[in-house]
Amino acid sequence: MLHRNADGAPCALVSNIQRYTIHDGPGVRTELFFTGCTLRCLWCSNPETLRPEVQLGAYPDKCLSLEKCGRCLKVCPEKGAPLQFGDGGIIKAVRENDTCRTCLRCAGECPSRAIRQWGEWMTVDEMLKAVEQDRSFYRRTGGGVTLSGGEVLLQWEAAALLLEACKKAGIHTCVETALNVPTAHMEAVYAFTDLVITDIKHMDTQKHREFTGAGNERILENIRRAVELGKKLVIRTPVVPGYNGDEENIRAIGAFIRDALKGKIVQYQLLPYRRLGLEKYDALGIPYPMGDYQPPERGEWEREITRLVQMLSTEYGIPAAAGSGGKLQL
């Protein structure tokens, strides 16, 4: 449902606006991360975007300690019940015991930004303004805006409004989505979307469910539909050795792209797994789902990805690439 603020202006819950990104679509882009997600991928590097709500994050390193500050305690209507402190200061700012009303006063008062607010309701106009700031760069580089997440299509109505406004402003638009959403929602934004970036995390639906919390049927169906509609599509696999990095799975994806999609995609990218977002898990007080998992030595793994890319190009004839640093032939 489309969320509106007190003035009736349409809004979206956004966790972050990242400027000057270069890997999610062509050129230099501004990327908006929408909050809320339908998947729970083990390797997710944006845990702050999973829950569709404003959250608090705690950064113990930055805390001045209760002794020297303590402003958060003073302003908390629950007398600090949702906040946990250790010797050096804050450890967690969570709502496990449901006492927190997310009034955000503690984050507002904290002088050192040891307590931070994740997620903000922004109006479409505010988002558009943020995007327009870097327009001269989009022009120079063929860049534009990328809506990402979380799952941007959970807020498909606001996304469609923003994308439409961007198109009117002459800005190239890209949507990065897992596509685990109703087809109608996907099609609603496509009218204003120049490029779609999506993932195939595994071809075996059982394993897909095991690693992401959902099967892959709807995703694959939506990908087929996107190609049918003639959408420009980049497909990615975040390659996690021991999970989905085996040759058999990559071959199955290659076959799907060749046979079901007739190879009609812009690029298929194999992205090496990186252990990212750990500090955000810590700040949110959530354990990292992959635990102590360490990928193989980077050079070795990158060589393996390069080999798989070669294999996909020569044996399957699809436009495969290692990483997201190559130029997209649009």
Partner: protein
């Protein structure tokens, strides 16, 4: 490879090399004699590559070239100059100087090293340094005696070795030079009121750069030298000399100048002929036939160019190297720059290709050899100066390529690309490359430049014609001269061969000026342990002008007014100091060799130090721009807008170095306070005010050699030294931390104040008035290698550079190294000997820098695009 393989705009070339980028991990970085324009050398590799050159000869020379700035002290020059001065005790100073350099050029030892095709040296071994007693001998001998020159715990880099004999020979000269130096002469002209805030006092400003060495910072007129040759210069001098009418007093002075320049011209000719003789002698004893042939060729070239204009690329390059090296022998002023190399050498390049005299490959090899010759030069520095100018080597040998020509059209040519490739092929920190770009620069040059930046050696720097040229026009430089500018030293745009600019002669800590402005002229840490206490604070006085206290100000306008008045007070004193040094140079150290190479000196019959050439400037820098700007912003927001603290509380907090004010310290350093570097007009406009006020009080002040002052806006590395002189400040700096570097944002121990990203930095920095800082500006960028990987990384870097140019930023430099790499290098220097980083204005071996400077570089905000 043949010469036609790479044509600059060949579409085929683009297509052929497209494959290079197919896979981010599979880039062929092997060097080739002729490189495609979009050759990739990898990202963030820096110098860590064995045999980087495609030429066996160059790799051989590199293998015996040390990667540190340490060398031997040579006493020969000092003795030979002293001998000449003693033989001509009563003659005019300029003649003494001429006899001095002539004696050195005739008698100092000279060397030709194995494999090299370009000759010339400072009269000592590779990386050795001569001594210039004219600028002080006592410090040299004292440091030797006190163990501060050779390697020790107190001097772990940039150290110089010497023999006992060298020390004795220099000691023996000491009496002669005692009391005769520039420092003695300058100090005799100054009062305590001028000295108190200087480097010799409380360090509000420094003006010592040219007290202990020459002014340097110039490039000679190479085209004129090529046209005339030393023989033509001699004829020109004679012609003017003959026209002198000695019954006119001014002509007596001119005549003396011509006598002096004839002495130096003839000495230069004889010096080059000494190399011819040495090469012939070595050839006769050389068992390797090919090398013997090379030596004979070197001899023939030297014989020819000793008097005549060069005819070929090799001859011209040899003349450039020898003419420049002799400038260093005459005087130790650094940043003797190599001008617009791709422009003045281009006719010879074309000539050699057309006549078949040389191939492009051979000329590439010569350029690479030439670069190593520049790195071989060295300069003696004291143990204090190396802290602010670590690993500087000879210092400032800039070489400029690209940009528009005198007629306004783009000047990019094959040599532009060859000069840049040569750096990738030698990976030493010399010369200091500058690429001039403008709105119409070709895409191929941007790609070449971006790929070299991505290599991560810190080279080259980018200069923006679209700002530098209007900026020069505003200093009364003629249009054609302005378009023909070169970059000298670290940062400064300069009219090639026509300007004695006294660039980088001093610097003002404008953040310290703000401190005095808000504390009624007193240092914030004024206390009885200060050496000036008895005659200053202790006597009821204060260091600066009484401009009121933040504790009493009732409006923010009063803060701005106090800063303005305080700035004028200190600029007056800095100008006084610098002009005194200028007068001392004219009296004691005229430069009759340099004068023959600078346009106009012979025609005017006047030495270059006295204003003989066409343009005459003096350029000190404002330092701590971001620190001053964030300071003003914090005061306005916290004291006057939010009223979160009183002015008195804020002063108390910094007086206590924030102890007991942790909450305020965290707040001031957080993104709740408006900070420069985030495209936030609130802070950016105040930062602009901080810089403009500095410019206003310096620009156009008359100088002592016939021109006027030009403000600069950069710190190079003195932001570290100025920080060590300054107590805590209101922007959130703790005592003795560096002030902000160049035009960059503040980064305190607590955190970086620029938190948004490269585009916001770019927009903030370009809100400052770069063109007004006629002595140059600088922004240092630091990128993590991952941000620049792949073709997408390359093209977004180009977009960033284009936007910087479009928004009228003057100058940018880039470090591409991850924080992890730099920390690892600190821990394990032996494995990172070749790691070159951009310091500011120049690149240096990271492990050769002192810890404070290393930390400063590590602390610069690392930008990442993803």
């Amino acid at each position: 490879m043949n010469n036609n393989a790479t044509c600059l705009t060949s579409e085929e070339n683009v297509r052929l090399n497209r494959d290079t980028y197919k896979y981010a991990g599979l880039v062929d970085t092997r060097p080739q004699a002729v490189e495609p324009f979009d050759k990739e050398w990898g990202v963030g590799l820096s110098g860590n590559t064995p045999n980087p050159s495609p030429f066996e000869r160059i790799n051989k020379i590199l293998s015996v070239t040390q990667k540190t700035t340490n060398g031997f002290v040579s006493p020969d020059r000092a003795e030979l100059v002293t001998q000449a001065y003693k033989e001509h005790p009563g003659e005019p100073q300029i003649l003494k100087c001429a006899y001095g350099i002539a004696n050195v050029l005739d008698n100092t030892p000279i060397y030709i090293y194995p494999h090299e095709l370009i000759v010339g040296c400072l009269g000592c071994d590779k990386k050795g340094a001569p001594v210039h007693p004219e600028f002080g001998l006592n410090w040299v001998v004292n440091e030797m005696r006190d163990g501060l020159m050779d390697y020790s715990d107190k001097r772990t880099h940039d150290y110089f070795s010497y023999t006992r004999e060298t020390q004795d020979r220099l000691e023996a000269l000491r009496d002669f030079w005692d009391g005769k130096t520039i420092e003695d002469y300058t100090n005799a002209m100054l009062t305590d009121d001028v000295l108190k805030g200087s480097h010799a006092g409380k360090g509000v400003f420094f003006a010592d750069a040219y007290v202990f060495c020459g002014a340097g910072h110039l490039g000679i007129d190479y085209e004129r030298l090529f046209r005339l040759g030393y023989g033509g210069i001699r004829r020109l001098i004679k012609q003017h000399m003959d026209a002198c009418d000695l019954s006119k007093p001014e002509d007596i002075e001119r005549h003396t100048f011509y006598r002096a320049t004839l002495i130096t011209t003839d000495a230069a000719i004889r010096h080059i002929l000494r190399y011819a003789a040495l090469a012939e002698e070595m050839a006769s004893a050389e068992p390797d036939k090919q090398r013997a042939g090379e030596l004979l060729k070197i001899a023939a070239i030297c014989r020819h160019i000793s008097e005549n204009p060069p005819r070929t690329f090799w001859e011209a390059l040899m003349l450039v190297n020898l003419a420049n090296t002799m400038i260093h022998i005459e005087c130790n002023g650094h940043s003797i720059s190599y001008g617009r190399f791709d422009q003045y050498m281009y006719p010879y390049y074309l000539h050699d290709l057309e006549t078949g005299e040389a191939t492009r490959e051979f000329m590439q090899e010569l350029i690479e050899n030439f670069y190593i010759k520049i790195w071989d030069l060295n300069k003696l520095r004291n143990h204090i100066l190396i802290k602010t100018f670590g690993n500087g080597g000879i210092g400032g040998p800039a070489l400029t390529v690209g940009g528009i020509k005198k007629d306004g059209s783009d000047g990019t040519n094959e040599l532009t690309f060859m000069a840049l490739d040569a750096h990738a092929h030698v990976r030493i920190p010399c010369p200091w490359l500058a690429v001039r770009l403008h709105a119409g620069s070709p895409w191929e040059l941007k790609v070449k430049t971006a790929n070299l930046i991505r290599l991560g050696t810190g080279e080259p720097k980018i200069f923006n014609d679209d700002v530098a040229i209007p900026s020069m026009l505003s200093s009364n430089v003629d249009l054609f001269d302005a378009r023909d500018y070169q970059v000298v030293g670290c940062v400064e745009p300069d009219v090639s061969g026509k300007s004695y600019g006294w660039k980088d002669c001093g610097h003002m800590n404008i953040a310290r000026v703000l401190e005095l402005a808000i504390n009624d002229g007193r240092c914030i840490n004024c206390a009885s342990d200060c050496p000036r206490w008895e005659r200053c604070g202790g006597a009821g006085g204060q260091l600066g002008l009484k401009t009121g206290s933040l504790a009493d100000f009732t409006s923010f306008e009063q803060v701005l007014e106090a800063y303005d008045k305080q700035m004028k007070y200190w600029c007056d004193r800095q100008v006084a100091f610098l002009n005194a040094v200028d007068l001392a140079h004219q009296a004691l150290r005229p430069l009759p060799y340099l004068s023959i190479l600078m346009d106009g000196c012979i025609e005017n019959g006047k030495d270059v130090t006295a204003g003989g050439t066409k343009y005459n400037f003096t350029g000190p820098q404002g330092v701590g721009i971001g620190t001053a700007g964030d300071g003003l912003s914090a005061i306005r927001q916290l004291v006057f807008d939010e009223k979160r603290v009183t002015g008195r509380e804020l002063l108390d907090a910094i007086r206590a170095d924030w102890a007991g004010y942790e909450e305020l310290y965290a707040y001031v350093n957080s993104d709740r306070v408006h900070h420069y570097g985030n495209d936030d007009d609130y802070a950016d406009s105040l930062t602009k005010f901080a810089m403009d006020t500095w410019c206003k009080h310096i620009e156009r002040r008359p100088n002592a050699h016939g021109g006027f002052f030009q403000p600069g806006a950069y710190s190079v590395t003195v932001n570290v030294a100025h920080g060590q002189n300054q107590w805590a400040s209101v922007d959130g700096r703790r005592a003795f931390e560096p002030v902000s570097d160049c035009m960059g944002a503040v980064h305190t121990k607590c955190c970086s104040h620029d938190v948004k990203g490269p585009l916001e930095i770019l927009r903030s920095v370009t809100k400052l008035d770069h063109a007004r800082a006629t002595n140059g500006t600088l922004l240092n960028w630091k990128f993590s290698p991952s941000a620049l990987a792949g073709e997408a990384g390359r093209d977004s870097l180009i977009a960033l550079i284009e936007e910087y140019i479009h928004r009228k930023g003057m100058h940018s430099q880039f470090t591409v190294a991850s924080r992890e790499t730099l920390l690892a290098a600190q821990k394990d220097p032996d494995n990172y000997r070749d790691l070159l980083v951009r310091v500011a204005g120049y690149s240096a071996y990271f492990v050769e820098l002192n810890k404070a400077l290393q930390d400063d570089i590590i602390g610069r905000t690392e930008l990442s695009f993803d």
